[in-house]
């Protein structure tokens, strides 16, 4: 039995995604709880909606974000397969969530201790982002993002027994800018510099290969300055 997820596949501002029913059916297959394939830019829920539906990302990518009254947007987290969305204060949701690519979710119910663990993980990631936004330079931020995405979306498929990791980049330059507290142009310039420095490779704009994870993480941590 499938949890019915009403898909509202419009782009941009759209009606809210109804929370899954709280009655979780027994799995009859491994994917029995999984919803349908959501298209890119589907709004899953919005800021201010009461209640907190909980989903696990099965495949694809979801961005959680807060938006200021004047349109400034800050992405709180990019969430890949296996991770959860919908946690937070029970009262009101403080952020919206939308898909960045074709994405499959499954509804989950969690024990209290699982929720506590998940909250702790979210807190840890949020505090990491605070450090990044408060004290890191643009190249450090972009390097960090590329490595974080590699961990979540990279297949262990190493290029030629080098430690290279290749993955599909779900977020656009604009999404990355809104995550890293930068502008589209700055993100693009950092990409170009990282490419010229031989740390990464980019194909067709959305296929990333991290060529030198070692050096890239040195950059992300602020140990090395990225020459040029």
């Amino acid at each position: 039995m499938c949890v019915m997820l009403q898909i509202l596949a419009d782009r941009g501002p759209s009606p809210a995604f109804p929370p899954a029913s709280s009655s979780i059916p027994k799995p009859t297959r491994t994917t029995s709880l999984a919803g349908p394939l959501l298209p890119p830019r589907t709004m899953i829920f919005r800021e201010g909606l009461a209640g907190s539906p909980q989903y696990r990302v099965v495949d694809g990518c979801v961005a959680t974000a807060q938006t200021l009254s004047d349109g400034r947007r800050q992405i709180i987290d990019l969430i890949g397969p296996g991770r959860l969305i919908g946690l937070g204060l029970g009262e009101h949701i403080r952020y919206s969530a939308e898909t960045l690519g074709f994405t499959r979710l499954e509804a989950v119910t969690m024990s209290q201790s699982d929720r506590e663990l998940a909250l702790g993980e979210m807190l840890e990631r949020s505090q990491g982002l605070v450090m990044l936004l408060g004290r890191k330079t643009a190249p450090e931020r972009v390097a960090f993002a590329l490595l974080d995405l590699a961990r979540h979306f990279g297949r262990p498929a190493r290029d030629k027994r080098r430690r290279a990791i290749t993955y599909h980049l779900y977020p656009t330059r604009g999404d990355l800018a809104d995550w890293l507290g930068l502008t589209v142009e700055t993100v693009s310039r950092c990409f170009t510099r990282l490419k010229k420095a031989g740390l990464i490779d980019l194909e067709r704009g959305d296929l990333v290969t991290v060529l030198d994870p070692q050096q890239l993480s040195g950059l992300a941590a602020g140990d090395r300055p990225l020459s040029y």
Copy 2:
């Protein structure tokens, strides 16, 4: 019976503060759990220490912070009376905590659901800081900080039935800079501008009066631009 808190009142890098014993004695007085008065700049715990002792701030102010290898510091939160410190992943503490003024703590043990609630609150504050650091200008950040501190440290003592709020500023300009992702100089300049604009008043450097909370919160939210 008092929970013994070993005070290490040195300034700067110092040994860790030992977690309170987990056996909580019955209160014999209202302040029976409260520890001694900790002097300013006492390190309560450091990053990387295992276990997570939990305290409530009774009086004073505590800053939680992460530090990069090259010394860049990011304050995660400033915590006033009634709020908790020590929550997070059980495994390791990802941040350090130190007092900013004379501070009294009390050891607490919490039910699981209290912990979940407290984690949710920390998460919410952390995400608010993410928005501030990623997308707000320096004057907006400072305005936000002054209002947040007013909520936590301001006495309801209103000036002359105007909505003015006065409070002692625990953090130095440097602490504020490390919280807001700015420099000491920028924080100081914003203070000067806010003073000239008649939104706040400063006496002796550490006594703040918010003269126009209304307009200040408009500034903090990015609705108004702060002329001059």
